[in-house]
């Protein structure tokens, strides 16, 4: 008979995997057995005290170690790049050549966290009828490379350049001190059909 693993961790699983977030009694037991465990975190102790040690009432969803672990993952650059690209896709940013953008971000990793921010502002300010296309430019000169966010609309009006200028000005402060750059501009082309 195969064992069944519940999708939501049971209390016992939480208790065994993460002794320091379980009840004080369990923590003491572990200590007596000679196991070295992290002392209860102050925030967790406060949480237990606030609940009058009625820890069985704790919403397990807030204690799922899987979610907690995401903040402690080993320092990978590629995983951050993939997360950022996924966020851009969710914001409906078109990336016609993702390999080039990935390559750029590997060389300028301090642009990774900024990218969703800049694209988010552009998307919000320029409206849903605007298509944004993210591309990496690499010129013949050494280190002449930057990201370009092309703004494309079906019908261009007079104010488009002013709007782009405003978005650029809003992002400029965040770009200062970064190793890379992102240019927001338009080539006055029609939006591509495929997002």
């Amino acid at each position: 008979m195969p064992s069944v693993v519940a999708a939501t961790p049971t209390l016992e699983v939480v208790r065994q995997l993460w002794p320091w977030i379980s009840c004080p009694e369990t923590y003491l037991e572990s200590e007596q057995k000679g196991a070295r465990v992290l002392p209860p975190q102050p925030s967790m102790m406060a949480h237990e005290q606030a609940l009058g040690n009625a820890w069985l009432k704790v919403d397990l969803a807030t204690l799922i170690p899987y979610q907690r672990s995401s903040g402690e993952a080993s320092a990978s650059v590629t995983a951050e790049i993939e997360s950022a690209i996924n966020v851009l896709i969710l914001k409906r940013i078109s990336i016609p050549r993702p390999a080039e953008v990935r390559d750029y971000l590997l060389r300028y990793p301090d642009m990774i966290d900024l990218l969703p921010y800049v694209c988010g502002i552009a998307s919000e300010r320029l409206g849903p009828d605007t298509q944004l296309s993210l591309e990496a430019y690499r010129g013949p000169e050494i280190r002449d490379e930057y990201l370009t966010l092309y703004v494309r609309q079906r019908d261009y009006d007079q104010s488009i350049l002013d709007s782009i200028e405003e978005v650029s000005a809003e992002c400029e402060g965040e770009l200062a001190g970064r190793s890379g750059w992102i240019l927001i501009t338009t080539d006055f082309r029609a939006p591509s059909k495929k997002q």
Binding site: L17, I21, R36, S43, Y66, S70, G71, P98, S179
Partner: protein, 246 residues
């Protein structure tokens, strides 16, 4: 000894050492370590990093985001680098992955540079992480044919998936260690392809359970486990794509 592939899907391997917060650390340490590793990692850079900390409180889970600076020492081809932050040393290796035989000496050299510079007794955390991007030239495919680790949808559920993420935390060594295994679909390099990220992050769960002189042995064992898990996650069809070298 694990399998070797001519076209391995590894896009990054990371080995990370975190020292206890109360251990000796100051701003001069990255510079002192650079002196010891500069032959292999001659290029210096400084990167801003956003760190997200999750904090449990009586009001629920709080996300704290703060920006910190990391010293980064890169190899000539920029495919391997060390990251140094407060109480942190990470050794990263990008595609093409030089195999464990090539990656392990870099970890050992970097860790020795750390132990020769900073005095500490135990480690808060050790992690060995492999990020694999797997690209398959098809827009519609049956995950069962490629992965032994995949989402399962019961027969009463719609079988079409637009996007997915599936993950598990698997305990090892009487729960001293854990491996977070995660599979998700990502943006493919080529239009018409389907791409996946298989992320294996093996780490020390129990802080300070490993003494300094046991850290490299821990890494070796972690690598064996990750290799086994990787093989367990993929099917024979993917092995064919990666072109096993016999």
């Amino acid at each position: 000894m694990g399998k070797k592939y001519a076209e391995p899907p590894v896009i990054e391997a990371v080995c990370e050492f975190k020292l206890p917060a109360d251990s000796e650390w100051d701003l001069t340490i990255p510079g002192l370590i650079y002196e010891r590793v500069s032959a292999e990692f001659p290029h210096k850079e400084q990167h801003l990093v956003q760190e997200v900390n999750m904090k449990q409180s009586s009001e629920g889970t709080q996300h704290q985001i703060h920006t910190s600076e990391r010293a980064v020492f890169l190899s000539d081809d920029r495919k391997a680098f060390l990251q140094m932050g407060p109480h942190l040393l990470a050794v990263n290796c990008l595609k093409p992955y030089p195999s464990w035989v090539g990656f392990k000496p870099r970890i050992e050299n970097a860790f020795r540079a750390l132990t020769n510079t900073v005095r500490f007794e135990t480690l808060q955390r050790i992690g060995l992480r492999y990020i694999n991007r797997i690209e398959i030239p098809s827009q519609s495919l049956d995950l069962d044919e490629y992965f032994e680790f995949r989402p399962f949808l019961g027969e009463n559920l719609p079988q079409d998936m637009a996007n997915f993420i599936v993950g598990c935390m698997l305990p090892f060594n009487e729960r001293r260690d854990c491996c977070k295994v995660q599979l998700t679909n990502v943006v493919p390099e080529e239009p018409g392809d389907t791409a996946f990220l298989l992320d294996l992050d093996y780490f020390l769960v129990r802080p300070q359970a490993i003494p300094v002189n046991g850290a490299l042995e821990w890494v070796e064992q972690a690598h064996e486990q990750v290799e086994t898990l990787f093989e367990g996650c993929i099917s024979a069809r993917l092995r064919e794509r990666f072109e096993e070298v016999k």
